[in-house]
Point group: C2
Chain length 323, copies 2
């Protein structure tokens, strides 16, 4: 979808339909609290644990909504994407549940662990060279040959409507939230959060949390238009991608602010959550707590929802052990 | 309590009283499942997550029952113990909640992290030399001077009655269990499990899971009397201690079998749980899954409760990274 195309903005009705559609395939994940972290931050924190989600991440919500919303005719041709992260796992999981083919285009240089994980969920991998041109060429060929439906990791109304179900659940699980803080990369989770809360709880403020090393969304937010960086480098590897037109629509209209944290702050927050909450979660998921810890006055005394977006981390390469 | 002393065996009424007494101070921990691990084992597994418990381990149940069962007069003199592990943290937490002094005798050579953790929960540390004689001498002095009540980590009827509340909850949370598998060290958790289930669900089999490197309980079980090893070496550091008279009573009367696993099997099971269930738990807590994976026929098609006993692990020293 290019900036010049007319695009369809998902509505709250789409989110309600997604909630019903994906219910058999995703978990209603639990909300956890930590008296230690409440004391440390001076706020009341409610962690929505999408690390416990199917395929280990919230992305299975959007992927399932896209896959199960296809007509039988379209579904028979399968789905395809070119993510190498949680979206690829999630799309493979959802396609597997529907029993349709799924193709994932990945650079041949991608870590074997990521390839194995996608295969483990039933995805077929087509390798490309590690360049944008090779990826686009390879992906176009896959789609042309199979007729597979492209499901973008975030800039897709079906995906955003699916992600909206996460904050819809959170709002049912926790009363009287003052704010929700979620990580921002391409903006799929934040857009879903905006879509949900602007309809069911418009008084709840929405903060996006971003690595300072990949702060294109924060700079876009200030500038008033999308700024895309070329190749940001951050430990929060789910958050390197830029905003696109659909997600920019939600971010620019509904987000209160975008807060940033350094790499060190992100790793410290991640380790703190592992140590105190006893959960395994990704660096990306630690960015919200990192921003709360450095903006205590902003959140003091408030009831804050935090989206723990996923738990797919390489246990052999933990960031606090790579010093 | 020596073998020659008459000892008091806690009753189910004690366990019921414990459940009411400790309710304000402990979590009713969640039960988690994993479709991946169900498929892998061919059984239906229900993980009782005491890693999410206050102070990070089930031991807070027994410690809280002991602390809150004291008369005001006794409580005023405080409590004391000489564990350096989860019992010390748990006793410190419980004493802190009651607002009474707690003294922990620890070898001066104990890791600083363990000392800091006990201090973090409000415990006062008295250091001894790293020998049994110094520990006993120092501990006797502490008790003589303060009049503090000694709370043994496991061979104490108050502690066993407290641990029983874990399986009482599990039995409320999961219907029709065929068996429960829990780690065994000194036998506190297993004894509590026996106390609970022999009264409320006597048809449920109870298996103890033990590191092969510290298999004194398995050998005791076969021999029909307590065999205590001198200094077993295992990654499952909560399970090095021997059975004592009270826990032997429960083990010898109610346990179906004691299964063992090698160090490698324990570490593999631990990493598998972290990777697939996204929870942080201790090596000791992985022994049950390790024994189930090597005794698949025994558990196939059955509904199995597994006690994840705790989550206090040194994140800087993970066992699969120490090769």
């Amino acid at each position: 979808m290019s900036d010049n195309e007319t695009f369809y903005i998902p509505t709250f009705e789409d989110a309600l339909a997604a909630k019903e559609r994906i219910a058999p395939y995703v978990h209603r994940t639990p909300v956890m609290t930590s008296s230690f972290l409440n004391e440390l931050t001076g706020a009341e924190l409610f962690f929505k644990c999408e690390n416990f989600q199917k395929a280990g991440a919230f992305k299975v919500r959007g992927a399932s909504n896209a896959v199960f919303g296809l007509s039988d005719e379209m579904a028979a041709k399968g789905v395809a994407t070119h993510s190498s992260g949680n979206h690829a796992l999630s799309l493979s999981y959802a396609a597997g549940r529907r029993g349709i083919p799924v193709t994932v285009v990945m650079p041949r240089t991608a870590p074997q662990a990521k390839k194995d994980a996608v295969k483990g969920y039933g995805g077929v991998i087509v390798e490309c060279e590690p360049s944008t041109s090779s990826r686009e060429e390879t992906f176009a060929k896959v789609v042309a040959e199979s007729g597979a439906e492209f499901v973008h990791p975030y800039n897709d109304p079906r995906v955003i409507a699916g992600q909206a179900t996460c904050s819809m659940e959170l709002n049912e699980q926790v009363e009287n939230l003052d704010a929700v803080v979620a990580p921002i990369g391409g903006g799929g989770m934040i857009s879903g959060t905006c879509l949900a809360l602007s309809n069911i709880a418009p008084e709840v403020k929405i903060y996006a949390a971003e690595p300072l090393n990949a702060d294109d969304a924060a700079r876009s937010f200030k500038a008033g238009h999308i700024i895309a960086d070329d190749a940001p480098d951050t430990i929060a590897d789910g958050l390197k991608v830029p905003l696109k037109d659909l997600t920019w629509h939600f971010v620019s209209n509904h987000v209160t602010d975008i807060l940033t944290a350094t790499e060190e702050e992100i790793v410290d927050a991640m380790k703190l959550i592992w140590k105190r909450m006893k959960i395994v979660m990704e660096p990306s998921s630690a960015v919200p707590l990192a921003t709360i810890l450095k903006n205590r006055e902003l959140f003091k005394g408030k009831r804050i929802g935090i989206i723990i977006t996923g738990g797919n981390v390489d246990l052999d390469r933990l960031p606090w052990l790579n010093d």
